[in-house]
Structure formats: C-alpha cells, structure tokens
C-alpha cells in the first residue's frame, strides 16, 4: 500500500488589539448589543471615506518583525470583491500583491522552520445569525482590524500544525498585538490540505477547511480530511479543489463551495486609501518596542538561570507570568525556588488559560522575592516558606507580617545542638530502639526537635546531628 504524507499550509486570521477599528474610530470591544459599535464608514454607506488606523500598521509590522519577516518599504491596499451580507460594501478592504510583511518563518521544537509567505492587514466582516429563514446582520465586528498570516505548505503533520499555531499565539500575545482567543474568534484559521505519496515532489490537489476556531477541532478536521483524501486516491478517484467546513456534530468535513479563483475576487487598488511608506526610522523605533520573545526567553531561563526546560516553557507561556518571574528573582540566589513557588503553589490556584494569562495572584512579585530571600539568608526553612506562601496567597500580606521575629533567625548551631540533646534525653526509649537497629525510631526524635523549635530547625541538618550525638 502506498504511504502518504500530509502537505499543509495555514492561513491564520488574528484580530489586532487596537482600541478602534481599522478605518473608523468605532470601538473594537468584543460583544455589545448588535450594531451599537457602528458608524457610516463601517456599515459602508456611500460617500464615506476610510482612514487607516496607524496602530494597525505598527502592530502588523511588529508581528512581522517577531516572525522574521521582511518589512515592505512600500505597501498598498486593495479591494477584494465578493457579495455576501457580512460585507456591507460588497468588498473587503485587504492587501493583495503588496502586503506589509513577507518571507518570514516560525521555528518548531523539532528544528523545522515553517516559512511565512506574507502578513497583510485587512478588515473583519460582520457577524451573521441565520434563523427563521432570515439572516440577522450585526456589523459590530465589521471593520475590526485583522492580520492574515499565510504560511507556505511546509507543515507535515497534525502535531506540527498545532505547534505552529501555538507558537503564533504565544508570539502575538507576547508582543501584545492580540489576545489570540480562539474561543472568542480573535484567532481563527483556514487549513489548506493535500496528500501525496511519500517521496513525491509534486503537490496533490488541495482542499481548504475554513474557520477553525479551536485546536481540538483543527486536529479532528485535519485527521478526517487527510483520511478522506487518501481514500479517494486509493480508490482511483480525484480530490476536487474546493472549500470545506468542519461539521462538529458529525466529526467530518463537508463541501461548502468550489474554490473561487483568485481573479474572481477582482482585486484592484483601493482608490480611497493612499500608499503606506514604511521608513527605516519607523522600523527601528518598532524594533525597540519588541520584547524578548518567548522562545529566546525560555532558552535564557535554561542557560543562564539553570531552569529545567519544562519550567522554562511554563514560565514563558504568557507575558505577565514571565514579567512576574523576572521581577521576583531579582537578587535571589536560586531562581529555581521562585519557579517552584510559581509553578507549584501559585499555578494550582489559577483555573483556566484566562487566569494564567492575567496571572492575578494576591502576592506581589516583591513579596515573593522577599520571602525567597529569607530562605536564601537562612532565616527560614523550606517548610516555613511553603506554609507562609499559602498564607500570602490567601491574604495578600507581606512575609514580614506573617512571620514573627521569633520564627525567623533560624537556629544557630548551638541552639540546634541544644534542641537535639534535649530531644535525645527526653526520648531514651527511641534512642535504644534506634541503636537496636530500628531506623524509624530516629524520626520520632527528629519530630521532637522540630516540635521544640517550631519548625525552624533544618530537618536534614538536625537528623545528621542526632545520629552523631547518639553514636557518640
């Protein structure tokens, strides 16, 4: 039987986090009563003129810089014509042959680079609700700025497609150009899929699955579509080039319409909008705004701070988390302790991606820093640190409010020795059990030391000292 391989490229639409729409000053806020975020420009009334939002251009360039794209010095805007009620003008303002960014790439964990053909800016369409034989149209989303990121057909597996999309999401969130929430539609993608016999250099006929709005659906739709195409080829039939949609209930893809050829959109230059010229100054200003990207950050956490890879990846998932971490490790001896506090006790209190993204914990990074420093200075032990952190997470108080002077200061060697000697004297039965070969008896004596010192003693040191003293 012939073995097949997947050839896949993604077109990813990302809503930009600007305050206003791309061509008018209406808000881009999500939701709102239908048609309340609208004006004559975004409902396409005749005689209105679009005016380009500067931040849209800046965000698109940032997105390009963060994905290794060339930034076009001259770029223009075009009309893409199609007739559907979600577009009040019967055309979408987009970019055709002179996009803002081109020739970029995103690197996957297996070292493969997924090339990006282009990134262009365009307006989102309105929302349609089909019911009772009618179509209800809400133009609140109409005119919200999008970037479309088009990849080359470099993706070879479903896992690569997922990772590519996750990387894009991570990067765009980090540079702050979008929140990339698939469930709210601020990130969605079209998947172009074809299959070919392994070793073949030519591409098979492709189909396009429209509007995937979750990672899980994308994986399922791809799996179904790959198998559908292989079955067709195996039975001697042909794959028809067309647009398909994923049917969640039936878990299959179904035909929407034959793929319209590009010239059917009758692209032509948008006469109401002038050329975009991007200067060197503009690019270097934007480069300065570009933060360290998650992949570089994770690498640095591993190499410079000695964190394990899993920790480094978790701490670079969202920008707030990494900012918190970096503020909390200032001047601490072992950043791994801070990482453990965050990934362990703090993450367990955050439910869902939204909570992690905002990283809204009651403890300030300064207070976590102060707590870990107490450990560094030997003033508290790990068990007290953990217990105090729990209290801090509950109350938002500073460690100094929760740990008294008598808890701190740890135990000097003399005090530890005294406590051990007392515990041995008070537990003679346990001592003889231990000397008689019962290793566990030592724990009872250690427990007495910890109790007497209210947990301030270092358990490992205390145990060593006890053994020394008993065997003397």
């Amino acid at each position: 039987m012939t073995k097949y391989e997947l050839v896949c490229g993604l077109e990813t639409h990302i809503e930009l986090a600007t305050k206003t729409k791309i061509f008018c000053s209406c808000t881009t806020e999500f939701g709102g009563d239908p048609n309340t975020h609208c004006c004559p420009i975004c409902i396409g009334l005749p005689g209105t003129l679009p005016k380009l939002n500067k931040r849209v251009v800046e965000y698109a360039i940032l997105a390009g810089l963060a994905t290794n794209c060339e930034i076009s010095r001259i770029s223009k805007i075009d009309r893409k014509n199609y007739v559907y009620p979600d577009l009040p003008k019967a055309y979408q303002i987009s970019q055709y042959d002179m996009p803002l960014c081109k020739n970029g790439w995103v690197e996957l964990s297996n070292g493969r680079k997924i090339r990006l053909t282009r990134i262009h800016i365009e307006e989102d369409a309105g929302k349609l609700v089909h019911q009772r034989g009618n179509t209800y149209v809400d133009y609140n989303r109409g005119g919200v700025p999008l970037i479309e990121i088009v990849s080359e057909p470099d993706i070879r597996s479903i896992d690569e497609a997922k990772e590519y999309l996750e990387k894009l999401q991570l990067i765009m969130r980090f540079i702050g150009v979008s929140d990339c929430k698939m469930q709210e539609g601020s990130m969605r993608c079209d998947v172009n899929i074809s299959v070919r016999p392994v070793g073949s250099k030519e591409f098979g006929t492709r189909t396009e699955i429209k509007n995937m709005n979750s990672f899980a659906h994308m994986a399922k739709a791809m799996d179904y579509e790959i198998n559908r195409q292989i079955d067709l080829l195996e039975s001697g039939e042909k794959v028809v080039q067309e647009t398909r949609r994923y049917n969640e209930e039936e878990d299959c893809t179904e035909s929407m319409r034959g793929k319209e050829d590009a010239h059917d959109y009758r692209y032509f230059r948008e006469p109401d909008l002038v050329t975009i010229q991007v200067s060197e100054e503009m690019i270097s200003e934007l480069k300065k705004k570009l933060p360290e990207l998650p992949q570089q950050k994770a690498k640095r956490y591993m190499e410079e701070l000695g964190l394990p890879e899993a920790d480094a990846l978790l701490l670079t998932q969202y920008r707030r988390i990494s900012e918190y971490f970096e503020a909390a490790i200032k001047g601490v001896k072992n950043p791994k302790t801070v990482a453990n506090c965050m990934i362990g006790q703090m993450f367990s209190r955050l439910e869902g991606d939204g909570a992690k993204e905002n990283f809204a914990v009651k403890v300030t990074p300064e207070n976590l820093n102060a707590l870990v420093r107490l450990l560094d200075e030997g003033k508290i032990r790990m068990n007290l640190l953990k217990a105090t952190l729990e209290k801090m997470l509950d109350t938002g108080k500073a460690p100094s409010e929760l740990i008294s002077e008598s808890d701190m200061g740890g135990l000097d060697p003399d005090a530890l020795r005294a406590a051990c000697e007392q515990a041995i004297a008070a537990n003679q039965n346990a001592v003889s059990d231990y000397l008689g070969g019962k290793e566990k008896a030592l724990k009872a004596i250690l427990g007495a030391v910890m109790k007497a010192t209210r947990g301030r003693a270092d358990a490992i040191e205390a145990e060593k000292l006890l053994v020394q003293l008993i065997k003397k």
Partner: protein, 92 residues
Amino acid sequence: MVTHEDILNIANLAKLSVSPEELDELTKDMNEIIGFANTINDACPQATDFDNINGLSNAFREDIVVPSYDREEILKNAESQDEGYFLVKKRM
C-alpha cells in the same frame, strides 16, 4: 476581447441573471467600454504608476475611540430590521 463566457461569469459573481438576448448586447457593450479605457494605454504606453498621482502616502488616524452612532441612526435606512439587527433574506 470579452467573450460570452466572461459576461456569464461576471453575472454569476454579481448574482445577476442574463437572458440570451441580453448576452449579445452586454458583450458588445462591455467590449466597447474596455476598448474606451484602453485609449489611455494607447495615449501613454510608458506610464505605469497612476495609483499615486496625488503623491500622498501615510494618511493615518490615531487609535482613539469616538462614540459610535445611535443604533436607530444606523438602522434608519434598512429595508428590514429586527431586534437591532439588519434583516436580509437568507442566501447560499
């Protein structure tokens, strides 16, 4: 040359129906219109950049929210509306 097929394709994209009688006439008209526009090419075959004749670029707007219109204003000219939505016949 614009052909019958071109006209039918354009009509299809514009969701228009064209009768056989209209087809001949529209094809003839369209050829004349395009022929007229071609005069420009004949007049100055060197010019390629007409798109920036005003010499403007980077006409930007700052990202500052201005209150949107009242919904009644927005829906005022709609042929049909319901519950704050524009209402159109279902298609596709």
